[in-house]
Symmetry: C2
Subunit: 188 residues, 2 copies
Amino acid sequence: MNREEALQKVKSHLTEHRYVHTCGVMETAIQLAKKFGADEKKAELAAIFHDYAKFRNKDEMKTIIIEEKLSSDLLKFNSELWHAPVGAILVQREVGIEDQEVLDAIRYHTSGREQMTTLEKVIYLADYIEPNRQFPGVEEVRELSNTSLDKGIIKALQNTMTFLMKKNQGIYPDTFRFYNELILDSRR
Amino acid sequence: MNREEALQKVKSHLTEHRYVHTCGVMETAIQLAKKFGADEKKAELAAIFHDYAKFRNKDEMKTIIIEEKLSSDLLKFNSELWHAPVGAILVQREVGIEDQEVLDAIRYHTSGREQMTTLEKVIYLADYIEPNRQFPGVEEVRELSNTSLDKGIIKALQNTMTFLMKKNQGIYPDTFRFYNELILDSRR
C-alpha cells in the first residue's frame, strides 16, 4: 500500500483537523525514523494509521477491549487511551495490515510501554511534536528531539504525567514504567 | 515504652533539626489518628521512630537491603527511600519494637504502597505536613488534611512526583501505585 492509498483509506475515519494532524505525524515520523534509524516506510504507515480508531464510539471500543482480552487496566483509566490498542486491532482487521512492528507502534503510541522499539518511540514522539501541535512545553520537546529520541520522550512524559496529575487523573501503569525505564537508563 | 523513653531512645540517632521534625510528626500523627480513627499510641510510637535510620551511612543501609532481601528496586531509586524500610528493620532489631503495624508504618512512610492502613497513611501524611515543614504546596495539603486523609495524601503525592520529575528522577513503583489507587478510589 503506497502513501496515497493509505491516506485515502484513513481519511474517512478522521475529522479534517485530525487528518491534518495525521499528515504532520507522518512527515515528522519519517524525519525521526531517518535520524534515529527506524524503518521509514514502516514509520510512514504506522503514522498514517495511528489514530484510525480515534472516533469510534466508546461502547464499540469497550467491547473490543473485553472481547480481545486487552488489559483490563484500560477500562479503569482514561478512555483517551483506548483508541491506540483498539486501533491496532481494527487496522489489522479492516485494513489488512499484518506487520506486527507497525501494529505495535499504533498500539503503544498513547501509553508507551517498557522496551519500546525505535519505531514505536518514533511514532510516540512524532504524535507529540508534529508541527500542528501547540501546547505549553512542546517546543522544548521539539528541541530535545533534535538530538535524542529518549530525551525528547522523557520530557514529553514528564509533561503528560504532570498534566494528568493536575487534572486529578490516574497515570496508566505502562506510561509510568516507560518513564522510569528511560530515566534510569539515562543515568547509567 | 512511654513517650519520654521513646524520645530518649531516638534522640541520639537524629540531628537537632531532625529531632524537632520528629516531635512535630508525633504531635501531628496523634491528631490525625484521633481524627481519622487510627490507634493513637501506635501512631505516637511509629512517628517517634519513623526517621530512626535517617543518618545511617549508605553502605550500611545497602548491606541491610541486600541481606534482608528487601526489594532490589530500592537500590535503583533514590537513596532517600532507604531509611524507611531499613529503619523498620533496625527499630525491631535495636529497639525491640515488635508491633508489625507500627513497623509497617515506619517501613512505608516515604514510599507509600497500595493498600495502606489508616495508621500507615497517618504517618505518611504527618511526615509531610508537620508544623515545621515549609515548602511550596504544604499549606494546601494541610488544609485538605483537615477533612480527608486521602485527599491530603493525593495532593502530597502529586507534589512529590512532580518534584521528582522536575529533577529528572525516577518515581518509585510503590509510590506511583499508591497514587493510582487513591485517585481511582476517589472517582468511584
